[in-house]
Structure formats: C-alpha cells, structure tokens
Amino acid sequence: MADLSIEFAGIKAPNPFWLASAPPTDKAYNVVRAFEAGWGGVVWKTLGEDPAAVNVSSRYSAHFGANREVLGFNNIELITDRSLEINLREITQVKQAWPDRALIVSLMVPCVEESWKTILPLVAATGCDGIELNFGCPHGMPERGMGAAVGQVPEYVERVTRWCKTYSSLPVIVKLTPNITDIRTAARAAYRGGADAVSLINTINSITSVDLERMVANPIVGSQSTHGGYCGSAVKPIALNMVAEIARDPETRGLPICGIGGIGSWRDAAEFVALGCGAVQVCTAAMLHGFRIVEQMQDGLSRWMDSQGYQRLADFSGKAVGNTTDWKYLDINYQVIARIDQDACIGCGRCHIACEDTSHQAIASLAQADGTHRYEVIDEECVGCNLCQITCPVQDCIEMLAQDNGKPFLDWQHDPRNPYRIAG
C-alpha cells in the first residue's frame, strides 16, 4: 500500500487530506469528528481579535446543475464568531488529544504590527503545528481592511508575512485570494516575506443566482443580499490554473503549495498534487456530504498510487508541471482528429449540431432509411478542437486521434507564419 503520510512545510500529517479553514473546523466538536473520520489535518476556522465577528442569516447559496447537484457554493460568513479565548482553549485540547494530526490555526487581524505581535504567542501556546494567514476572505472582512483587502496588495502580504516570521517560530502558510489579476504577484510577495508555504485558493467573489420574484440575489438577508465567496466543484479549474502558475514560476521555485478549491474526490486531489501541491484542503465537499468522504479519498488515492507504482506523494508531486507551458511553446504541427465509435454512438446528433452551428462543419449528418441519422467526421474539415467529444453524452464514444502527419515539432516562436518569429 502507498504511504500517504506527508511532511508539508515542516508539518507532519498521516495523510494529505486536510479540512480548510471554514465551518467544518469551527470548533472542537467538529474537528474531533473530522479526526475520527480520518482527516490528516485541519486548518482551524479563522481567528481574529475580540470581539468576535457576528454573522447574518441566511448565509449560503448555490449554483445548481440540472439534477440539483451543487456545482458551486457561495457564502457570506465572516471569520469565527466565537471568542478568541474559547477557540484557543479548544485548539490546545484537541492538539493534545490528537498529536499525530496536523493542526494549523488560521488568523486574520488588522494590518497592524502590534495586532500580530500580540496574537502570535497566544496561538503558539496552543501547541499547534503552524499558522495560515487568511488574506483571502472576499466578503465582509475586506470592508474592514482585512482578508482580501490585504491579499490584493503585495506589499501588505509581504509585510504581514514578515511580521509573522519575526514574532513566531511556527511554519507560516499564506492563503491567497484568487480575486486578483496575476496570482504570482501575491505568491512572490509571500515568498519574499519568508512564507514557508502558500495555500490557495480562497473563495471567488460571486453572486450565484437572483430570486426573480423578490428581485434580490441569493442568499437573502431580509430584503437584501451581498456578494459572497464562491467555492466547490465549479472553482476547481480556476484553482488548478493558479496552482500551476505558481508551481512553474521560477521566482518562487521550491515554495510548497497547499491546493484548495473544489476538491471532492481522490482524483481531484491527485490532480492538484500532479500540478505541484504537497497537501490539499477541502471545504465544500465536506460541507455537503459530511466528513466520511475522506475514506473514499484515501482509499482511492492509495489504490491509484499503487497502480502507478508511486510509493509516496512526493513521487508524483509536480509531475505535470513541466508539461504545463505557455501557448507560444506549443507544437503547432501537432494534429488530432475526432473519430466516432459508431457502435457506441447513440445517434443524439449533439456533435453534429455543435460543430455545424458553432465550429467547423466537420461532422456530417447522414439521413438513414429508418429516419435516424448517422454521424461521420469529415477528416479534412476537423481542426481537432474537442468540442464534439465534450458535448457527446457517451463516455469514450468520440476519440481524438493523434495524426502522424510527418511534420516536425514547431512552436509559434519559430513558425514562418509568425511575423515576429525568432529567426534561425
């Protein structure tokens, strides 16, 4: 069996599945249940200065798929709404009872040196394994100059990170906000400030839906609403890209990354690891299904690793980073063509209409005597865009076949059609 244990930024954990700082890690009761279920670590719900935050009702909303499956999740909650004292006491107790699990404390206090200087020793006294700086909360807290308001200004990120490294010996993980143009700017700032790792993403500014009867967005508070933070399955692609951007940035080379955003299965987690993460955090999937999901995640990941011959996470961590590059380095001579498996095809016509209306008119619809249609790819017209394969409802029915066109590797930088090509 593969060994799932990790050491991430100096923090040891029996497995890489951690719960992200959020309601699942809000108090001892939840965290103990999470550890009982098998989670390798938690990032405690973000602590702040007293008085504790006060939340509104209601707080969540979602973007649903056709079968009411939750595609994306949105919240307008603030950081912990319990006193600092209670949280610190519970953290101390839980860490004592569960010494083998990673227990990281998320923090958000005003961008003032004194505030950090005061809180850090209190946190260290709990015996926790590290701290995570919440520079990401996109709703509520930024209006008070915290959370994303800090995360969006590289100088603040660097400065606060440095204070933390100065006033604490604990590993410092900087949690980044995705509500920013270039995620690398923030990661570089954290790196300069001495961060031991970055974690990302926090939630994305969002409005999931509008109640058209009441003419107010969701979630509704009285007769009003406000934008929230988006997370869950829908944000995974955004998170993966941001992780990859940092992983392949030479300026922050070697900076450990903890992946967060839309992780709900072992496969999601493996993808984050492949793009350079050393651990992952989960929030929404646990909120929707409970802590038990970690069982299938652990089991699935270790079986897959066994099948691949990976003994530990480090064996494949970052393996897909090298293959992620800029557009200009892609092989312009590479060509794939769609091929329909006629035995698997159920004749829904979706590939045809998609290509016909919106792409390259490369799938012919041939009327059959019995009134049905047969769909065939016109090889000469197919540009290999994948659209038909994506809209096809049958798994593996359309295959994108690499063509042996005899042409050598050629990127745009050297393509004669590029007026600004590199000569030579």
Binding site: I346, G347, G349, R350, I353
Partner: protein
C-alpha cells in the same frame, strides 16, 4: 343497458372500490420526478423521438422547457403540434412510438426518457388564463367536419386557427370519438376527454351539431354544396363479425359495445359482470376488454388469439398489463362454435387449435372448449359503409373498405378530405388521427387560400 348481457350478475365490489380499481394506470409524475426525468433528456438534434412521434411534437424542446421550469411553454409546444397532446400523452403506445426511438432506449443508457409522462406533466400543470392559440382574422370560409373524434377535432381546431368557420357533424351525443367511448377507462380517467374537448373549443369558430349522422341525416352531396370543403373523420363505427352461427345469442357481443357502456357508466357496480369470459382478438381493444372485465371482478378471463404472441397487435407492454390483471392469454386457437345452454344463451366456445404451415394458418385438427358466461369479440373495427350511401359518397375511391386518401389527406373527390381510422393511411392510433386532422386542415387551408389569391 346491454340487453344481451342482462341475464348476468352485477360486480360484487361496490362503486367506490371499483372506481379505485379503474384509477390511473400510469399515475402522473410528481414535480420532483418530472425534474429528474427531464434532466435525462439529451436534447438531441434531429431527435429520433420526434421522427417517431406521428404528430411530430418537438420533444427535446418541450422537455427542456420543463427542465427550465417553464411548463406553460412546454405545453404550448406540445399543443401547437398536437392539440390533443393531453390524451395522447395518456393513450399513446409510447413503447412503440417516441420512447422506442429515444436514444436512451438501450441497456447502456438504462431506459428511454419517459416522454409520454413528461408530456402529460406539462399539459396537466400548465394553466392558461385564456386559450393559448389566437385565431387569424375571419377568412369567410366554412368547412364541414364529419365526426368529432380525434381526427375531426384536430382538423377543426387547426382550421379555426386559420380563421375559418367550422361545423362538426357528430352522430353521438358527446364529442371525443373513441377518447370518450372507446379508450380503456384506466388510461383516460374521469372526464378528461370532455375537458379536453372544451379546451379545444375555446379557440372559437367551431360549432358541433350532435345527432347528425352521415348516411342518415346528412349526405356528402349536400355538405359539399353548402361548405367550402368537407373533412370526413368518421372512424370505424362497425365491428368485424366472427362469421359463426349463433353470433346473435345473448352473451355474445362486440367488445367496443361493452366498453362504450363502461365508459359512460357513472356507477361501475351496475354493469353486467361475466365472471367467466372469453375475449377474442389480440389488439388493444381485446386487451382493454379483458383487463376491464378482470377489474370488474371476473375471475376467469381468457383472451384467445388464433396466432402467436409475436403476431399480436397489442404491444408487449399491453400484454404485460393483461397478465398483471390475471388475464390468461391463449394463443393458436380459433373460434369454431358458440356453445349455448338450453335457454339459448352463451355457455362457452369451442376452439380449433391452429398452427402456421408455410406462412399459412391451419387447423391442427384438435379442438377444445372453454366455459364462459359471455364472449366479447374484439377481432377488429370495421368501416361502416352505411355512412357513404348518397350518390356522391358512393363515388369516393376506396382502399379495401376504407376511404382512399393521398399523403395530403385528399380523397378522390375535389374539396373532400378524410383522415383518421376511416382511411387506410397510417396506424389506427389516436395520435395518428390527430396528425391526419392537422395535415388535412393545412391542405384545406392552403387550397382555399390559393383560390382566394387567384381570384
């Protein structure tokens, strides 16, 4: 009352219990079920299901509207292709029509989308403040429709939509045709058939004259003189005969006669019950008859067919309904003799065993007898030739006994159109009749309008 069965007892069960047994065969979908099922539709392009629907309903479109919580829009899409979409959703043998063709109708996809039930969901749940179709300005044209069954009603609605005035001449007291008098009670429950007719008539411009029977009170020649066009939709008003001696004996009658009585009964416990009965035939009518008698409380219902299961007109789904209602299906047996008791009433039937030799049906020489209190013949509906007796009507070209029409529902007589069961075109199904009516209306309209333009 059905005279020839007046000697039989009444059902043991009370009216309430019976009404319950005759409840909806396929109950409507709940909102949750409709949401789940509509999400299963792949929104196919050139969808095979549409091709398989005789009335060409845009199925992917209406299902997507349901998915998007727009049942009103879904209903309008259905009704614009099939104004009797509500009854079709209930009576169509979807297993051989739309759902048969659904791309999800295979093991890999688990099951076809339940198109019929979704169609019913849309129609049942749409609430139209006013009739959803508006008539074009009056054209000044008048059209006679003979027969207020699905074909006649569908034609009338489409014609009224185009601004024409329509008079429907109907022999019976109620409109609806077999929707009112023939379809099994558990498929079209309560007064749905009448409510649907009322809805359809809301468009205006349609007058129904009951008690006018072509061949008796009406002649085709007169209709053609008085109207700009005539649409014949008189269905199949007669039943095929067995051709045996004693066919008039008390205890033997056409299944459709019994079903008509049943459909009109306010209190099912007052119907005659044949505790032991024989139903002859293998189509929908035979199944419906057998199942309904079983529901009334008969404990020995035998459906006898001269050929095998594979040749049965009733679909597998229908056969399964029969079996689920304790109907015994006997194949390869042909009626030979009606057996009478000493008072001359049916006591059973003798059958010859049959077999297929070189594609021909033959008697094996063996025979057997079944005891029965009544025999219901459901070996097929027949064209009632007495409707076409006036000199002009006699000129109509026929195909077999039915009226010949071309693909645009024109008969051999200019200005006279026909559709539904009384023609040989297509299958004898409600949805087919609706489509005929619709196409005939289109043909009549374009003919009348082209004359206007030319004038």
């Amino acid at each position: 009352m059905i005279d020839t069965l007046s000697h039989l007892p009444r059902p043991h069960a009370g009216a309430v219990e019976l009404a319950d047994r005759f409840g909806d065969l396929a109950p409507p979908l709940t909102a949750r079920q409709a949401a789940l099922e509509s999400a299963r539709c792949l929104y196919c392009y050139d969808a095979p299901c549409v091709n398989a629907c005789p009335s060409e309903i845009d199925i992917p479109s209406f299902i997507r509207s349901i998915q998007q919580e727009n049942v009103q829009g879904a209903a309008q899409t259905i009704l614009s292709a099939n104004i009797l979409g509500g009854s079709c959703a209930r009576v169509c043998p979807t297993e051989v029509l739309c759902q048969q063709a659904c791309v999800r109708n295979n093991a890999e996809e688990c099951a076809p989308v339940l198109i019929g039930l979704l169609q019913r969901h849309a129609i049942d749940n749409a609430q139209f403040g006013e009739h959803p179709f508006q008539r074009a300005p009056a054209s000044g044209k008048r059209i006679a429709v003979v027969g207020a069954g699905p074909a006649g009603l569908s034609c009338a609605h489409r014609l009224a939509l185009y601004g024409h005035e329509v008079v429907i001449f109907e022999a019976r007291e109620k409109a609806g045709g077999l929707n009112e008098y023939g379809i099994a009670a558990y498929k079209l429950v309560d007064d749905f058939a009448q409510r649907e007719v009322e809805f359809l008539l809301q468009i205006g411009g349609i007058e129904i004259r009951h008690g006018h029977r072509l061949g008796v009170e009406l002649s085709l020649s007169l209709l053609r003189q008085q109207f700009d066009a005539v649409f014949l939709a008189i269905g199949l008003a007669a039943s095929k005969r067995l051709g045996l001696a004693d066919e008039q004996a008390p205890g033997l009658l056409a299944a459709t006669d019994y079903i008509r009585e049943l459909r009109q009964a306010d209190d099912l416990s007052q119907l005659p019950l044949a505790e032991r009965c024989i139903v002859l035939g293998a189509g929908n009518t035979a199944i419906d008859m057998a199942v309904q008698m079983s529901k009334l409380g008969a404990h020995d219902v035998n459906l006898v067919y001269r050929r095998g299961f594979a040749e049965m007109g009733a679909t597998e789904h229908e056969q399964a309904i029969a079996k689920a209602n304790q109907v015994r299906l006997l194949t390869w047996a042909q009626p030979q003799e009606v057996l009478l008791d000493d008072q001359g009433r049916v006591r059973g039937m003798r059958f010859a065993r049959t077999q297929q030799v070189d594609g021909r049906l033959q008697s094996t020489g063996e025979s057997f007898e079944l005891t029965a209190d009544a025999i219901f013949s459901a070996i097929g509906q027949a064209f009632d030739a007495s409707a076409l007796v006036d000199p002009l009507a006699r000129e109509l070209k026929r195909e077999g006994e039915r009226i010949w029409v071309d693909a645009t529902l024109r008969t051999s007589l200019p200005g006279v159109y026909a559709g539904g069961d009384c023609t040989a075109l297509g299958q004898d199904l409600t949805v087919q009749a609706v489509q005929h009516g619709k196409l005939a209306a289109e043909a009549i309209h374009s003919h009348l309008m082209s004359n206007v333009e030319a004038a």
